[in-house]
Symmetry: C2
Subunit: 480 residues, 2 copies
């Protein structure tokens, strides 16, 4: 697809995108010129131009890999995206649909007829079809199901029965299974007859008559051992495999740890159900980290860069509404202490600092805990020592940052008592922040929930309100 | 390494860790019992016990993959980590050192003699050695360099001459090169003679006499084509390759897009310099995302879970100090408006809300922009439309959230003018937030800097101070 001379870089993609946009804009311009021009036969000229443009776009995209086409489609505004998508219809439309993000896929599919979708889908493997299934209209899905044979339908149902976070949802069926009693020579002859191996085939799976996986035969061994040897002699019986129901995140860690390319997926009885490959693991990791980063910033799902404003708004309001509630709740504390502020107005400009520093420190702690939990590095065995370490650190931080803040307030307001309250309030709020930053992820994990979700919102709400309460409360006790 | 019966899960690791901790605690207990016991010959008994424990630990770790050993070492407090590391010395110590995080590696290496380090290093490939080089003491490094042959030294120097973010730093040298004029039969015979392929070999690299890469020969083609065919007939000339100096993040994207397992790395003249494999890409992605997540939360580097409190403190103070400065700076605005607050103290509890909501909205925008920039999806071609869309969204958000906040303040304070100021201030600050959230990453990107670094700190500082300024300024104009 790509020619050898191209070095695949972000610049390359950006340049392609730029050229295609120029093409689209030229097209727009020409069309409007035709309408203003002297010709009476607008329609004919326009049809001719339309064909020309279509040919130009098709030529531009024909040299691109489906993944690059997908990326360019994602970068185009909705109207241009539709124009391009209509123009470039080709055999690998299915691959492009697979590569775009969920949000963008919906914008592409919404303009296609059920027949069209079904014909595109017919070029895909069952595991790829499963990735699209959720986004396809019912009528198209029925058409597709009717065109599948019984084995394909079984595969499709198998994948769809697992959650996105499970290994079963990531597996494919491009595996070659062999028996123990064959010679390597027979295997090589078999492969030659096949003419092609499924992508990412680095090993063949050895199974018995009940499909139970007995071992694996790395291609390497096929090449380095004598052709007369039996599979049983050459196969590896100490291999890594995954359960259909296992967490995909765990499988991803295993692929990293053990440097895997592919591995068998089995059910609870050890029967072969499918294959897990590093390309699907890479996609899974990228999606997961993108989601984590975006959801940390309060963006609900992967958002189409050019989603309609309404759609984007709905995707972001959830988080903003939660924040309105927590912000109002925590600032109610300030309302309670309004008398104090009237007596010492400097408190008004100092209190946000106590709140903000608490949030920052608590976030550092909770992020480390969340990450260590994900790595399986926190257990009943070391949890007490970890808590002790973070608390010691919080005390040290509290003294250090408390002193700095105390000194800075002294410089600003020349009020020793106020500075002392500032320092002590900071010290206490940092302790609170670390205790909360430790507790929320650990408790969520204990009760089987994702420790990352929502931690930062709850944490900030608590450190804000506690910060205001401690600071203004101390001020009431000691300054008035 | 792992037996077939084990399903590799976080639970598996946590359980191993638990068992090892119990073992270590038992050991501690026994040792203290000996000292309190009646025997006079403490030393002999202790030495015997010591040997027993060592044997038990070695047995426990012998069945573990180096990556799992590394993870367990990372999860142990410093004293226990040292005990275990001293006990389990084995042939694959080098692999364990490779797998642990930089911070933990230093704690392991600090207790080893230069000779010991050099002997461990002798089991590693040059590209693996390069990963360790930065953490090794000078004396050990000199010993290691003396033991390398000239080609290995050349390889080591090559890798070390690139930055961590470049493809050159990630490459290895486990590639098999062949010439065009050989038959497939000869290649197969050659591989059989080698007896073993480097891990992740899914293709052989075809080079001319100047080491210029002419094509690749996938193992699949080796198996499916006739043995009598020439490499020149069977090789693929339209293949993906990377430049030594290219950004590693770009290469990672290419591995995802094009589902690669390995690819040649060339210099600017197309000469083969090394090989890039998916396992190194996976490690790179994991490290990069871990770093991004941690640095977003203000943790400087990957932190040893059980680093000394001082070390952890230094790793976190940088961020906290920056935040002290920005927090003080933005709250100075409040100081300017103290008179206003004295006249209408409700402002004190409402102003943090304006500031916080601005920060949240700006963060949503900047995170989407940062992500799209990383994907190469923002170009001069679509930037204007993107800005227009985000600004429209900001206006919509401003009206919606402004109204909600206005209504909530009306319910709390029954003051129409105050509520109107609240709504208008929120509207303006949301616009400011989105403009800043767009500008910072786009400008940083334009000037060739990482758009993610520091964006959130600067953004929050601006939305905080602008929030206070707009709200209190409007209050001064309209409420007093």
């Amino acid at each position: 697809m790509q020619t050898a001379e191209k070095i695949h870089s972000a610049q390359f993609l950006a340049q392609q995108l730029q050229e295609i946009t120029v093409l689209l804009e030229k097209q727009q311009l020409e069309r409007s010129l035709v309408h203003r021009g002297p010709t009476t036969n607008h329609e004919l000229v326009e049809a001719m131009l339309q064909n020309q443009h279509q040919a130009r776009l098709q030529e531009k995209f024909s040299s691109l890999h489906p993944a690059d086409t997908a990326s360019i489609l994602e970068s185009l505004p909705l109207d241009q995206r539709k124009t391009v998508w209509d123009a470039i219809k080709s055999d690998y439309d299915g691959q492009v649909l697979l590569e775009v993000s969920d949000a963008v896929r919906q914008t592409l599919i919404s303009g296609m007829a059920a027949e069209e979708i079904a014909s595109v889908a017919s070029t895909l493997d069952t595991d790829e079809l499963a990735d699209l299934a959720a986004d396809l209209p019912k009528r198209a899905m029925l058409k597709i199901l009717r065109s599948l044979n019984s084995e394909e339908r079984k595969h499709l149902n198998a994948i769809l029965s697992y959650q996105d976070s499970q290994v079963g949802a990531l597996m494919d069926f491009g595996m070659i299974t062999i028996r123990t009693d064959l010679t390597l020579k027979a295997i090589i002859a078999y492969i030659r007859k096949l003419g092609k191996l499924p992508s990412h085939t680095d090993k063949l799976f050895v199974v018995d008559q009940n499909d139970k996986v007995l071992g694996i035969l790395p291609l390497q061994r096929l090449l380095t051992h004598l052709p007369s040897q039996l599979v049983a002699e050459v196969m590896v019986t100490d291999f890594i495999r995954f359960q259909v129901g296992q967490e995909a995140a765990e499988a991803a860690r295993a692929f990293e740890r053990y440097d895997l390319i592919s591995a068998p997926v089995v059910d609870s009885e050890g029967k072969l159900q499918g294959r897990l490959c590093v390309d699907n693991i890479l996609d899974f990791i990228r999606e997961k980290t993108d989601e984590d980063l975006l959801s940390q910033a309060g963006v609900g799902e992967q958002e189409d860069l050019f989603a309609s404003v309404w759609k984007s708004a709905r995707n972001r309001w959830g988080w903003l509404l939660i924040n309105i509630v927590t912000a109002f709740a925590s600032t109610r504390i300030i309302g309670v202490f309004e008398d104090i502020i009237l007596q010492l107005v400097a408190l008004a400009s100092l209190m946000p600092i106590i709140a903000a520093m608490g949030g920052n420190t608590g976030n550092q702690t909770s992020m480390l805990i969340i990450r260590s939990l994900a790595l399986g590095q926190i257990t009943p065995a070391n949890i007490r020592r970890l808590i002790k370490k973070e608390l010691t650190l919080a005390i040290l931080n509290g003294i250090f940052i408390g002193l700095i803040l105390g000194l800075l307030s002294l410089l600003l307001y020349h009020d020793r008592a106020l500075s002392a309250v500032m320092a002590i309030a900071m010290f206490i709020n940092l302790l609170v922040a670390v205790i909360v930053g430790l507790s929320i992820p650990l408790l969520r994990h204990k009760f089987g929930k994702d420790p990352a979700v929502g931690t930062s919102v709850i944490l900030t709400a608590i450190t804000d309100s506690m910060g205001f309460f401690i600071f203004l409360g101390l001020a009431q006790l000691f300054l008035i």
